[in-house]
């Protein structure tokens, strides 16, 4: 984000400076002959060595490296789809978006936003026309801390190797279900395969736990989710 902003500033500045920059160019053209005569006059061999110095320089630009200039790829944005088993309401498709921030090689923070729709309970199916819920949307968001427990490599063929990681996550969030909000604890594990420099495939298994009373008793419901996530580093 910031680097894009910087590029914008640089381009603007370049446009602004383009016209005045031509002035020193003209001045440089004037200076060149004077430089040549100076070189002819000075027959000192040491001077010549200094003049030749650029020739033996490696082919690199004389631009100072500052760590702030090097692109960072600590963020990972993704879309996921999978199955969510909503307790008492069947297993249903779920999809959503994710954003990860990698703090260190071990630790990351993950935010997720997901959407699913509850199916019918067996009571509703057998009851003939009875509906328990008006609002069947299941929307959740959560933030979790992740830990890369088992980083490694997967050898797909003799010459194809992908970096992988088995990670654990635990966090908290909110679930909006049946018209109410529920404070939700989320925990699980995932397996990531970094397919190239810029994208990775994740397989995630999570449990969303919250206290609910819509079936007539207070209980902790466990909502298990299995999903595939495609993420992009930026």
């Amino acid at each position: 984000m910031e680097s894009r902003f910087r590029v914008f500033l640089l381009i603007t500045a370049f446009a602004l400076l383009a016209s005045p920059a031509l002035v020193p160019m003209a001045a440089a053209a004037d200076e060149k002959p004077a430089e040549k005569t100076e070189q002819k006059a000075g027959d000192n061999p040491v001077n010549e060595v200094i003049q030749q110095d650029p020739v033996i320089q490696p082919e690199v630009k004389r631009r100072e490296v500052k760590q702030a200039d090097v692109e960072t790829e600590n963020f990972e944005i993704g879309v996921f789809a999978g199955l969510l088993s909503i307790e008492d309401f069947g297993t249903n498709p779920v999809y959503g978006v994710s954003l990860d921030y990698h703090v260190t090689e071990d630790l990351f923070i993950q935010g997720r936003l997901g959407y699913s729709e509850a199916g019918t309970t067996s009571f509703e199916r057998l009851g003939g026309g009875v509906t328990l819920l008006g609002d069947r949307e299941y929307i959740y968001y959560d933030v979790a801390l992740g830990y890369n427990l088992l980083p490694g490599e997967a050898f797909i063929t003799r010459n194809t190797t992908y970096n992988t990681s088995l990670y654990l996550i635990a966090g908290a969030g909110n679930t909006e279900f049946a018209g109410d909000n529920f404070f939700t604890i989320v925990w699980g594990a995932g397996y990531a395969v970094t397919a190239s420099d810029w994208f990775a495939l994740h397989m995630d298994f999570r449990d969303h736990m919250f206290d609910i009373d819509i079936t007539g008793e207070d209980k902790t419901s466990h909502n298990l989710e299995a999903s595939l996530n495609i993420t992009f580093y930026f």
């Binding site: 920059a21 020193p24 631009r63 490296v65 702030a68 790829e73 933030v143 908290a172 969030g173 909000n181």
Partner: protein, 250 residues
């Protein structure tokens, strides 16, 4: 923002030296190995095998960074991951040591932006909250906070756009802070209970807490807040909130 101005300044100075330099050209960062060698790993992690070493005097290109690791390309096209610690011993084209280091306590003190999430207790309800803050000075900052609290009777959504934080000793390892804020709180009764109306009230709060820099851009914070809710009834409602969470800064 400051970095933007620095790069703008660098651009101005480079333009006056070489007016023909092209701003659209992608930046290339070359450094020279000064240690006896640097180790190139197959992945961005300490356990990944070393498959190549670049010897002293070789020029390598820095492509991009992922946490503590740099993707590096050698002159003969080999690409691998080198730890930031090893690259801090490399040299710039001018022979100066490359400025590679991690964000530390000093950067934490002068941070501009801070984001985070926390969980806790909101007068018997479980609460999750997200915040983003901007530091005007080392001591004064403002935070925008959105919280969702839910329990068996009702759920509450809290939004605050004005939450001034004063941090008297930002350089302390565990740094205390005081807050004063205002916002809106929306209360929705549970749908399984008898139907009562949703309501939105304004509130004011004061609070105190501590922040602690853990590593790199990562911090922990714990805070207490006392809310006074200006209800439409005769008396105001008071709510105490405890939260603990993490954040990161830029």
């Amino acid at each position: 923002m400051r970095k933007c101005f620095i790069s703008l300044f660098l651009l101005v100075s480079s333009l006056s030296v070489s007016p023909l330099s092209n701003a659209d050209e992608p930046e290339e960062h070359f450094v020279k190995v000064a240690d006896p060698y640097i180790e190139m790993h197959t992945g961005a992690g300490r356990g990944y095998p070393i498959f190549y070493v670049a010897a002293r005097g070789e020029w390598v290109q820095l492509l991009y960074r992922k946490t503590d690791w740099f993707r590096v390309k050698t002159e003969d096209g080999k690409e691998g991951w080198v730890s930031a610690a090893q690259l801090s011993m490399t040299l710039n084209p001018s022979g100066q040591r490359v400025d590679i280091r991690d964000p530390n306590e000093k950067d934490f003190v002068v941070r501009d932006w801070e984001y985070g999430a926390s969980i806790g207790d909101f007068e018997g309800l479980s609460v999750i909250s997200f915040y983003g803050g901007y530091h005007f000075t080392e001591n004064i900052s403002n935070e925008i906070i959105i919280s969702q609290a839910s329990g068996t009777v009702s759920s509450k959504t809290v939004l605050s756009l004005l939450n001034i934080i004063h941090e008297p000793f930002p350089e302390w390892k565990v740094s205390p802070f005081f807050t004063l804020g205002t916002g809106w709180i929306r209360t929705e009764p549970k749908s399984t209970l008898a139907v009562t109306r949703d309501r939105t009230d304004q509130y004011a709060n004061y609070g105190l807490g501590v922040r602690m820099h853990i590593t790199k851009r990562f911090l922990l914070r714990v805070e207490y807040k006392n809310y006074v809710i200006f209800t439409s009834r005769d008396d105001n409602e008071e709510i105490a909130e405890w939260k603990a969470g993490f954040g990161f800064f830029f």
